[in-house]
């Protein structure tokens, strides 16, 4: 059996990534080399939360693009809204937006969700992408790269 550290470096899983997105606008040129994301679940059925885990997989290797997850909205450039909100999550969502430092952007992934309220009625500020159809980790990364202007 190989030693643990050796096991880790002998397998190269990162894949070449071909960006193929649309309908998003570049946030600000200052985010071209680095983008910090805070995801918030507002009532999705769990698949978007799992896609966040998939996005951290070595196949995507998001750090090479300068993309990182943060543990607090106060450190984030982008708030990633996962799903269509339940009524109870509207206030926590608004409060999370209040905590974001300027400049910031909001990305909404609805993932063809059958439940929840129409997020457009909330009139969220600085929405740079609003994707209604189902997305996977690859598509999410594509959207983020578009926002960065890469």
């Amino acid at each position: 059996m190989k030693s643990w550290a050796l096991f880790g470096i002998t397998r190269k899983l990162t894949e070449k990534f071909d960006k193929s997105d649309k309908d998003t606008k570049q946030l600000n040129r200052i985010f071209k080399n680095s983008l910090h994301i805070y995801p918030i679940d507002v009532g999705n059925s769990g698949d978007l939360n799992l896609e966040m885990m998939a996005l951290s997989a070595p196949q995507y290797n998001i750090h090479r693009f300068g993309i990182f997850f943060t543990d607090s909205p106060r450190h984030a450039d982008i708030l990633m809204v996962l799903g269509r909100p339940t009524k109870a999550m509207i206030e926590p969502l608004k409060e999370t937006i209040n905590q974001l430092p300027e400049p910031f952007g909001i990305v909404v992934f609805e993932n063809s969700q059958l439940t929840g309220i129409d997020i457009e009625t909330l009139k969220l500020p600085n929405v740079v992408a609003h994707i209604k159809e189902e997305v996977d980790a690859k598509r999410i990364l594509s959207v983020l790269l578009d926002i960065m202007g890469k």
């Binding site: 059996m1 096991f7 679940d41 059925s45 885990m53 543990d71 339940t86 109870a88 926590p92 439940t115």
Partner: protein, 409 residues
């Protein structure tokens, strides 16, 4: 006998019960037995836990619904002096979507889609439980190949969910090499699902007839599961040698078998208490199936059960693919628009038993009750976390494989 649910029907309080492989409903007034988890199930949409603790210096540390530690929308009210956890109360209302209400009045096909949208990572289990409930109500059976395809999908669901849980545990212990490789395998398992069903979460596959010619290449699925099994086996043996990982989950969040049974917990949590119960044993198509058990009742045991189940699921998939390849498929004519009656269906999800009670009238759902494993799992988490410290939170919570989407419906 296990109590799975409490609901209203014709102004009477009914109980959804399980006695080994028999599932039934009964009027509460006509049953003499009492159930320890009655209050839990009665109040499952309001709170789950072991109550508030008051006293000098005790405060409520409110964790969620927006926190970096838990990706799901839900609130943990943790009562503590500042170190030891005294009690935990969970508020599941933030993710309440009212899907049972949405199902009522809909036809079977729309209801199937709604059942899949309860919890995407258990989408296949929910759809299986819903469809078997309809089959029970309509008193018909489906062809064997479709049943085998459902088994393959259920095992694919188990594989990626178990990988997810073990990766979360590893991440909590800062095992970066292991986590990275597990996340890589997790992504590969989602891609396998996509090849098999066209969906990374195995949605829109299930039905009363699944044509074996419309699903992805079975040979490719077999090769991919073989590779996942081989790679995971190597990673798992490495992980068991990493003492700073094992120390974090050994003897953490202990839940005894007796306590697990009183809560009504099923799945890997129960099997980690040496109780060999698994509803897959009731399905004759699972040949030579023996539930995997461990006996320490802690987070490590739960992880070990899940790890060994990943390899077992890969073997089950290979067996079923071999059978499907050599059998002819015959479509049965089923008119679902005329089904009337009551039915109960179930499926062994990666976290435990999902059960559906439905009432149909001419193919329209008139009443539905959904029993989900996360309700019992959240109670198990609350009870087992008492006496530990907040640093153990992620190991305790993640080891149960529960989530608010499944719990709050």
């Amino acid at each position: 006998m296990r109590l799975l649910g409490v609901f209203e029907k014709d102004s009477k309080e009914m109980l959804l019960l399980q006695d080994k492989n028999t599932f039934f409903i009964q009027d509460r007034d006509s049953i003499n037995e009492s159930f320890d988890n009655y209050e839990l199930l009665k109040n499952r949409d309001k709170y789950i836990g072991n109550g508030k603790t008051e006293g000098s210096g005790v405060f409520n540390f409110r964790y969620g619904p927006v926190t970096g530690g838990v990706s799901d929308a839900g609130v943990f009210n943790i009562y503590t002096h500042g170190e030891r956890i005294l009690s935990v109360n969970i508020d599941p209302s933030y993710k309440k979507r009212g899907i049972e209400k949405l199902i009522i009045g809909n036809d079977i096909q729309t209801s199937l889609m709604l059942s899949q949208s309860i919890c995407s990572n258990f989408a296949l289990s929910h759809s299986n439980a819903f469809l078997t409930a309809v089959e029970d109500a309509g008193n018909f059976s489906i062809d064997t190949t479709t049943k085998r395809i459902r088994i393959i999908a259920a095992e694919l669901e188990r594989i990626y969910n178990h990988l997810y849980v073990i990766a979360r545990l590893s991440k909590g212990a800062s095992q970066n090499v292991l986590t990275s490789h597990l996340e890589g395998l997790f992504e590969e398992s989602l891609r396998t699902n996509q090849i098999f069903s066209g969906s990374r979460f195995l949605k829109n596959l299930n039905g009363f007839f699944i044509d074996k010619n419309t699903i992805g290449s079975l040979n490719e699925i077999k090769n991919r599961t073989e590779k996942i099994k081989k790679d995971f086996k190597e990673l798992y043996s490495h992980s068991l040698e990493s003492w700073n990982f094992i120390d974090r989950i050994y003897n953490t969040a202990v839940l005894t078998g007796k306590h697990a049974l009183s809560i009504g917990v099923t799945g890997p949590t129960l099997r980690a208490c040496s109780i060999a119960e698994d509803s897959r044993t009731y399905n004759k198509l699972y040949e030579n199936f023996h539930p995997i058990t461990k006996d320490r009742c802690d987070a490590l045991s739960r992880m070990q059960v899940r790890a060994e189940e990943i390899m077992q699921s890969c073997e089950i998939i290979e067996q079923q693919i071999d059978k499907i390849s050599s059998e002819e498929q015959h479509k049965k004519d089923i008119d679902i628009s005329k089904i009337s009656g009551m039915g109960i269906g179930y499926c062994e999800s990666p976290t435990g038993l999902v059960a559906y009670f439905i009432e149909l009238k001419k193919g329209v759902v008139e009443n539905v009750y959904i029993s989900t494993p996360s309700v019992f799992g959240f109670k198990a988490f609350c009870d087992s976390f008492v006496g530990y410290i907040f640093t153990d939170f992620s190991f305790s919570y993640d080891s149960f494989g529960i989530n608010f989407a499944d719990c709050s419906r």
